[in-house]
Symmetry: C2
Subunit: 474 residues, 2 copies
């Protein structure tokens, strides 16, 4: 009988091995060649084809897949410095093969995927000194984690009646700093409160949240009859890596009875680095924490986590299963509680597996050492920029991010913005390195983020040298 | 310098090959052995360990991963009949290896992942005869797809002011049948409208939505000053596989100016089966369509899709990028529009790749043939049940789902419920087959869902014989 399984298993095995060899080689040569290469027009043209009605040969498809490998975003290369991307690890290949063989839906039911995910959540509780009673979920990343945390906070604040009745009539407001990541406002949009309900609190010159402004805004909102319910601190802002004073925020949130969320997308993982961990103090007092494994921990995309201190609130904000998902406590329908009781997804792949394997392969100490090294590299780059006559720092380097720009006498601010933007594009196109851009106090910055275990000091030196060469020629 | 890359690449290669061999063997033996096996207590005990601080050996981890393989949910086995799970395909192994090597974040930027995802969305437009101007996104599954569709409908209905101002004061109401999947109500909860705002419309005896009741409810809500905005039809209900009259719903939605959504989680893919496609007529008129690749198309978990007719509305409901994500149209920051402009996730793995490879490997015709076969198998089971003195059908078999129960004279309804529930657990524990349960008109049903390209007629016959044996002994 015809199935979707291969008819010729030997040919299948050969194709899979060819793919595996090419993939291992890509990792092995991660230091070599260009950082980013634009997808060639000829390849794009070849990709454009009609919906296939007939089966294609596995050999052809494997060849096509191999052909794609050079045209990723470049984040496996040691001189990829854009946005905040992890560099991945070849060990993930092995875990992803296992996950593909299991083909598990981790929305629920009693199977090994559920136990592995619980173990990973348990490790996260340990890592961030959350109580054993806290709940958690492995998600695609901090965006989803933040939505889950914000919805739980929303529903707890409204006695869970919001689940049935909606938020109409609610006067909930939340707070975060002006440097916070956009995923927080996006979550407020998603859950029906609107982005205006997330107040942007001023930051101090070091880009940490200004507690005085926070205090004033909360008092003003209370006076206006609104209901402050949520406060988000940031452990590692996306622009400069600033870490809010989490202990002070935890105390303020407790005093004001606000849900205290921490956005630790990449920065939270610095808790594995002995010299940085003290700066994250207070994170263990959060009501919820969102962070990614695929950034500074280098698990492959995508994998993030939400931890929630009040597991009952978490479950009350998401649980509600119909007849066809009833868990009778017996056999395959057992395994309570199910992950679907803690998040919006009923279909969920087994992304916890690669996290589980990754943490076992490397251990937290080695991951922490790589993180500490990245911070030293950023500081080194900051010092080089500072000493260079043609470049200026736009923010102090306090973690792993260095924001600076090329300067040239006689140019206006907008001309400088344009020039620096073009430098970024040029160095990306040259294939030498890939920083990204942002704005710091209104100025366009060359933003170098180092979340890469493959990066060496000479990589950041080469970056600055090349930028100097390109700018001199621009 | 120390990195997270292996020091000994040969040893790494050996470990990866060992994992690949074991995974291929699992697929090759998919027909053999037990359907579902409870995770052994001894394995659970071994899984419980502290957060690893030190690196572990890759050999050990690979062995552990291989040890997990027998304890999945069982959906790769031809006699897995629970819920709606796809059976997967070994070809996904190859695509997942490529995805792991690329380690791409498909939230945005100009790289090959973006082009592949666009191609997959384009194929989906073709498959469902959506206009070329429609937008789409590859997501984890129908739950996420539904949230995205419902939020787009919400924001369009409120002139997008809801994004900033929230839904407070809005009087939006939506409609779907009482047999619709819970993900619709969950989406309403998520986006702040509340589950009460999603009206449950009565169904006819064939479990299709009752258009008269729909008409009356909309009229009543309008009379009450509410704002009807959303109507969801179902292409394949989870309980019985009923397909609403999508053409009639499309017309009603157009007349009433409602956003017409179709939940086609598994059923939509039956459009690839020539004999079923006509029953899906009207799907091409939907404003949004949510469906899964990981169910009846057998792409590995997780992979679903949302298509949205009004691409501008879709983008206006999600776009809004801050400085650090500015796309300047140049180099790596080009590639507009970015997927993050169409959904809640900024971090997104490259799940489009396995869909792309899968559709090329098998083609839609072969997938459709497997779907048609599953429907024949369900009909055959229905006929066997109907002819059997000890079993009764609880719903007509119209697609791929057969709901029935064992009956024994003299037992009360609640005793029958309990007995049938125990039969399901017993056959799962025996490892012979894995149906799940639901309730049909209040009665506990043995629910046999066939979304499995490996299932043969003799598998459903064995299921019924075994159930008869077990029930006789119960």
């Amino acid at each position: 009988m015809s199935t979707l399984d291969p008819e010729d298993w030997d040919a299948f095995r050969t194709a899979a091995n060819t793919m595996l060899d090419a993939s291992i080689e890509k990792f092995q040569l991660a230091r070599e060649g260009r950082v980013w290469t634009p997808t060639p027009g000829a390849l794009k043209a070849r990709l454009a084809r009609d919906l296939p009605a007939q089966p294609g040969g596995l050999d052809t498809i494997t060849k096509q897949l191999i052909e794609l490998l050079p045209y990723g975003v470049g984040n496996t290369h040691p001189r990829f410095f854009g946005w905040v991307h992890g560099a991945g690890s070849p060990g993930n290949l092995i875990a992803e093969i296992a996950a593909a063989a299991l083909n598990a839906n981790c929305g629920g039911r009693d199977h090994v995927g559920i136990y592995i995910e619980r173990q990973v959540v348990d490790w996260c509780r340990t890592l961030f000194a959350f109580p054993q009673s806290a709940s958690g979920l492995i998600v695609s990343g901090t965006s989803m984690a933040t939505i889950i945390a914000a919805k739980t906070a929303r529903d707890r604040a409204l006695d869970y009646e919001s689940r049935q009745q909606g938020v109409s009539g609610a006067r909930l407001v939340g707070y975060t700093s002006a440097e916070a990541h956009a995923c927080l406002a996006r979550a407020f949009d998603m859950i029906g409160l609107g982005t205006d309900a997330l107040r942007k609190v001023a930051v101090m010159p070091d880009f940490q949240i200004d507690l005085d402004d926070l205090r004033q805004q909360v008092a003003r909102d209370r006076a206006d009859g609104l209901q402050p319910f949520f406060l988000a601190g940031t452990a590692g802002t996306v622009n400069t890596g600033a870490i809010d004073d989490l202990s002070a925020l935890a105390k303020f949130a407790a005093d004001e009875q606000l849900w205290f969320h921490v956005d630790g997308a990449f920065g939270a993982c610095a808790i594995t680095a002995q010299n940085i961990a003290p700066r994250l103090r207070g994170i263990e007092r959060a009501d919820s924490l969102a962070f990614d494994f695929h950034k500074w921990m280098h698990v492959n995309y995508d994998a993030g986590c939400v931890l929630i201190r009040d597991a009952a609130a978490h479950r009350k904000a998401f649980a509600n299963r119909p007849d066809y998902l009833a868990a009778d406590g017996q056999a395959l329908a057992g395994g309570e509680p199910w992950p679907v009781d803690f998040g919006p997804e009923l279909s969920r792949g087994f992304r916890a597996l690669k996290v589980w394997a990754h943490l076992q392969e490397h251990g937290t100490e080695k991951i922490g050492e790589a993180i500490a090294r990245n911070c030293e590299q950023a500081a080194h780059l900051g010092a080089l920029v500072d000493a260079h006559p043609d470049f200026e720092l736009l923010a102090a380097v306090t973690l792993n991010i260095c924001c600076f720009r090329y300067v040239r006498p006689g140019l206006s601010e907008s001309e400088l913005d344009e020039l620096n933007e073009s430098l970024i594009a040029k160095i990306q196109m040259a294939g030498t390195a890939a920083p990204s851009s942002t704005r710091i106090n209104g100025r366009l910055a060359i933003r170098v983020n180092i979340t890469n275990h493959r990066t060496r000091i000479e990589d950041v030196e080469l970056l600055l040298r090349t930028l100097a060469d390109i700018s001199a020629a621009s």
